[in-house]
Symmetry: C2
DNA sequence: CTGAAAGCGCTTACAG
DNA sequence: CTGAAAGCGCTTACAG
């Protein structure tokens, strides 16, 4: 295995100086087209590979962006990660995706590793718990850092936060269920004490208060298994509940599987609305109504925000909320109509 | 924003030479413990951050591993990617995960980008189609490269291939269904002409041949939607079919949703076995029998293979197959027993 | 155990 | 438009 060719080898082959090769590499306009072509040909002939480490050492950026996700196995985050990566790739940035797996210690190491690798910016959906250390470290670097979907560091001036307008979504879901004939609407799932649980409950709570109904919530893990579990509780101990807004679609699908097992029909006896509108929502039976969060749009928006900050030093607003949309399907006893997310 | 501190700053602060700092950075034994402690303290005080680009430029490796996945949105691959990343992280390697999204052109760019970033090794589950160009480029670098789950380049001496023993899995599934009382077993899903479709069919084909039954396959996309679609075809035009082995669990779940919609019961009238044993298989209703592919084990195994190759120059075998296991549940009319994957 | 020197492969002003 | 020179922040022998 021979030594990897460098710009010196390319320069020798093409009969120019290495500065010229460097300029061609950067797509400079000040090199004659013929020269450029000759240099490109020389590169191809000797199998030249650009060495980013060297470029990075001398200049500012390696064109790397870091993405730290609390749970990459969750399809919602996977979708966000892949779309963000592809959007940034179109702008010439490579994205390093890492999964902190809800582990603050691992997250701290990942953030450290990304800084060492010289990322030009970072997007983080943080794990809960742990210390401020990684954010302090990030603050010291002065790097553009975006908190998305979860806010664990309150310094949104340093780490701007963006998420969806979940409150509007749960309000729309509650109004829709009442409209469809539901009388007692529970909120199912979501870990207690978490900001996102509170946000996804808030619109529903407001509607319940407006209607003088009790806001009955059963909190728990955002999983299918928890949804199935809740079915038992509901059937055995809360027969008066005739509808549920679920923390996410997984809980809703679990709840529906539980009703199926009990031989109870969803969409008439009991109405369900989920959150996220994952692909499966439209493919379950009955089809699941859900508050759609356009994660692709959100990912592209996040990329644009980060690029503006990295490239043009345009600092994003401290907090922003993307609108959501209620998609009504059979599980809430509705047809195919669509109601806007902001009533 | 001030200049990032370098080892020179650390050296000045600690009152040693920069070589000593470098040795401490590498955890060398030849530095006195007191000196080491002093250097570490100096680093913390001035907020020193290791510059990997510089280290990489001078020495061999940046401790980076590349992972290119054809469809990172597929939970099976997501699980593989996250487990591989975490296993390699435990050995001090950072993994750059990228999604080629089944696009050969994008894949070529991603491979090029990873080489430029100086990865020490690469794991690829390749997209189908496109040219050999990226593999030729990889061959020129002499880098350790592992093909996993899909083999698109036949040079397994250069790019060792590993996957699951799907043939044994579909054989076990077919025998189990016959044993449970099924008479006519179809194979549903899997894109025509793909090696993996052929592999997942092969054991079933062999069993059908041994029993003198016709091997009836309906090929198609590996999606829930396709599974639902097939239900119509089956009910309307092939009432004699009383069981199906599905290309993957998504197809199987779609098929089951289709039967549910038609008011037909799965597990008695019709038996279903899926492939992959994704989390949802145990949470659907009825629970789905499936050929389990231990993707976590496979990911750890892949990491070990790659590390052995990168670190100790131990070349893996050209091809290897990991055993699978048939998990029988209600969808095939079985109890909770487990039958081994290799009958 | 520690220090002085060279060099990894680029980019960046600066001359020409 | 092109060339010669310096330097990015490390690691690596090599002396001491």
């Amino acid at each position: 295995m021979t030594r990897r060719p460098t710009i010196l080898d390319v320069a020798a082959r093409a009969g120019v100086s290495k500065s010229t090769v460097s300029l061609v590499l950067q797509g400079s306009e000040q090199v004659r087209p013929e020269t450029r072509t000759a240099v490109r040909a020389a590169m191809a002939e000797i199998g030249y590979v650009y060495n980013r480490a060297a470029a990075h050492l001398r200049s500012a950026s390696a064109g790397l962006v870091g993405l730290v996700i609390n749970d990459l196995r969750n399809p919602f985050f996977t979708q966000f990660a892949t779309t963000l990566q592809m959007t940034l790739a179109a702008e010439g940035y490579a994205t390093v995706i890492a999964n902190s797996d809800e582990d603050p210690a691992l997250q701290a190491r990942l953030v450290g590793s990304m800084i060492e690798h010289g990322v030009a910016g970072l997007v983080i959906s943080p794990a809960y718990g742990g210390t401020q250390a990684p954010f302090d470290q990030l603050a010291r670097t002065g790097l553009p850092v975006l908190q998305v979907l979860r806010r664990t560091d309150p310094r949104t001036d340093l780490f701007p936060f963006s998420s969806f307008d979940y409150a509007a979504g749960s309000r729309a879901a509650a109004l829709h269920l009442l409209d469809a004939g539901a009388r007692r609407i529970a909120f199912v799932g979501g870990l207690p004490g978490r900001a996102i649980t509170q946000e996804r409950q808030s619109g529903w709570r407001a509607v319940m208060a407006e209607h003088g109904s009790e806001a009955f919530a059963i909190e728990g893990k955002p999983t299918r298994a928890f949804g199935m579990e809740v079915t038992q509780t509901l059937l055995a101990r809360h027969p008066e509940i005739d509808a549920a807004i679920c923390f996410n679609d997984l809980v809703a699908l679990g709840l529906m599987a539980g009703f199926a097992r009990a031989g109870r029909s969803v969409g008439t006896d009991f109405r369900v609305v989920g959150f996220d509108d994952i692909e499966e929502a439209a493919q379950s039976w009955p089809q699941l109504s859900s508050v759609a969060c356009d994660i692709d749009h959100f990912a592209r928006d996040t990329a644009a925000r980060l690029l503006a900050w990295m490239v043009s030093a345009r600092h994003p607003p401290a907090e922003s909320r993307m609108p959501v949309q209620l998609i009504t399907r059979a599980s809430s006893g509705a047809g195919r109509s669509r109601a806007p997310g902001r009533p």
